[in-house]
Symmetry: C2
Subunit: 331 residues, 2 copies
């Protein structure tokens, strides 16, 4: 098939700050004991204390390089694929590169790709597009997310759902490997553009005229509307995505969904009656880590042996905007 390309995820690395259990979180914010697990499905998540996005991303990237027996000299491009950031400017990829050991010694490009929770999947699609084994042999994709600052403590749903963490992957053009990028794509359904939003902090509600308040500057989601829209659009998306492929959603070896929420993860299970073992889940221990969720879940599945070389994996999720996106890879 013309769509496949010999792209291989060579290695992955991660950095997780301190873990905080739901029990501790519930005590700290005065929530009933057990609320978090019952309603969000999250038992613990990680939370940055002194770390920032650049630091966490750099550590994850270094681990990915080390595991792949590579150094920065092998890298042709660093993509930061995240929804959160250290500074409005410069771009996050530049910060991650500068934070890496020897980051100043090499001059590969550092560019951000942002499709909120689908940033890693979008980065994989663009990386696949430019990887050619010549100018671009190895690309480092880093998703480093700190969600905890942008949460409203009065909103228990989001307070207990989100987590922080960073993950990185070295993605390479490997003509003689069995690995493949089979297909990727995203569709943006603009009717849901403001179902998830952080209103304050950009040009629309600029800080100067809009001092911090937890309502304006925190992540808001209209969970019910989102789920309703997802239930309608996911089947449309799946039909579009698999239209010209040999694979079907029933025949993939593993589904790595965005860990959006308990209900979000079960949409695919319910719609397509997919075996629970096929759909990988890390929500209970990491929470929703925005763009880092899909690669963190993939990395865990690889490390635990649940995903092996040669397995066909569907990375799939929803993101603010409102988008659905996926990548089908032979790992």
């Amino acid at each position: 098939m013309s769509k496949t390309k010999p792209i291989r995820i060579m290695s992955m690395g991660k950095y997780l700050p301190l873990s905080i259990s739901s029990e501790v979180l519930e005590k700290e914010y005065g929530l009933p004991k057990g609320w978090s697990e019952k309603y969000s499905g999250v038992i613990s998540r990680h939370k940055a204390t002194t770390e920032h996005n650049g630091f966490m991303g750099a550590r994850a990237a270094e681990e990915a390089l080390e595991k792949g027996n590579m150094t920065l000299a092998d890298i042709d491009l660093l993509i930061s694929a995240s929804g959160t950031y250290d500074y409005p400017l410069p771009n996050q990829a530049s910060v991650i590169k500068a934070e890496m050991k020897d980051g100043n010694k090499y001059h590969f490009a550092a560019i951000d790709i942002d499709s909120t929770c689908l940033s890693f999947v979008a980065a994989l699609e663009f990386a696949t597009g430019i990887l050619d084994g010549k100018r671009y042999k190895n690309i480092l994709i880093v998703s480093s997310e700190i969600s905890s600052k942008g949460l409203n403590p009065d909103n228990w749903e989001t307070l207990t759902l989100f987590g922080d963490g960073a993950v990185a992957a070295v993605v390479s053009y490997q003509e003689y490997s069995d690995s493949k990028y089979i297909m990727g794509g995203q569709r943006t359904y603009s009717e849901g553009v403001y179902h998830t939003i952080i209103e304050g902090g950009g040009n629309r509600y600029f800080f100067k005229e809009n001092p911090y308040n937890k309502e304006l500057h925190s992540f808001k989601m209209n969970g019910k509307q989102l789920l309703k829209l997802a239930r309608i659009k996911v089947p449309e998306f799946i039909d579009w995505f698999f239209k010209d492929l040999e694979n079907t959603i029933d025949t993939v070896d593993a589904i790595i969904p965005h860990q959006a929420s308990k209900a979000g993860i079960s949409i695919l299970r319910k719609l397509y009656k997919i075996d629970d073992k096929i759909v990988k889940e890390t929500l209970h221990k990491y929470g929703n880590c925005i763009a880092a969720s899909i690669p963190l879940t993939l990395m865990d599945a690889i490390d635990s042996g649940e995903v092996k070389r040669g397995d066909v994996c569907l990375l799939i999720g929803t993101s603010a905007g409102f988008s659905i996106g996926a990548a089908l890879i032979k790992y």
Copy 2:
């Protein structure tokens, strides 16, 4: 050459808010008359009043489509290629798409690519990578920038230098056209990562603990250090960029530089003794419009007839991070 690809900029569109002359700006902020033109080279720039990034980007994109005799039905992907944004979340491309007439009716992907001032050039490189005439036939790249909010009135250099504006291009895979994407690339020199920065407003100096102050939340640049670094790195970059190409910097028909500053634009002129007519300039009337500067300058040169079909154009600039990037196209 293997690097060339049959990519054609089909059409462009722009949206500019009200123009504000340097005389008016100087009066408003108590600057000596003539300071702006003398030191920044800017006689007038545009400044958003009620407009926001999404609105301006949508109008520019609509104009580009109209000029190309296309509709949203022809578009496979919208890339927002900008350094500034309406909201921390969702991503800017989703906002632009939703703001466009009939934006809700079509479901092409909306993704951001951010390399600050080089975002348009980076987007062109990635767009070229995935354009294949099949899944991706036509991509809409939009750079919509509002710099005016992030300026410190006490810093006359930046206050008078920057402008607001939006510009869009439809970029297509056109096998039988004479147009070509010859080469693109970026190099990031991390030693200059914080020479340009907006410190406040991300996770590093979060608004909650850091209320607005014009020093922390405004654009800062170490102009002298930047120029010094650029003078050293531009020749290295040019050597790297043209190494395997038939073209040289002396033989291109037009150079479209980022309108970084008066001194920034003249680096290439001075280093390579390039004819003034080859290097296009819009700084005096638009100021530095971040990522919109390169495409605005290209569009002006096309509209005025200075750049014609078949001309070889070098889009080139610097960006925060610190990066140098370029794209060589046969328009």
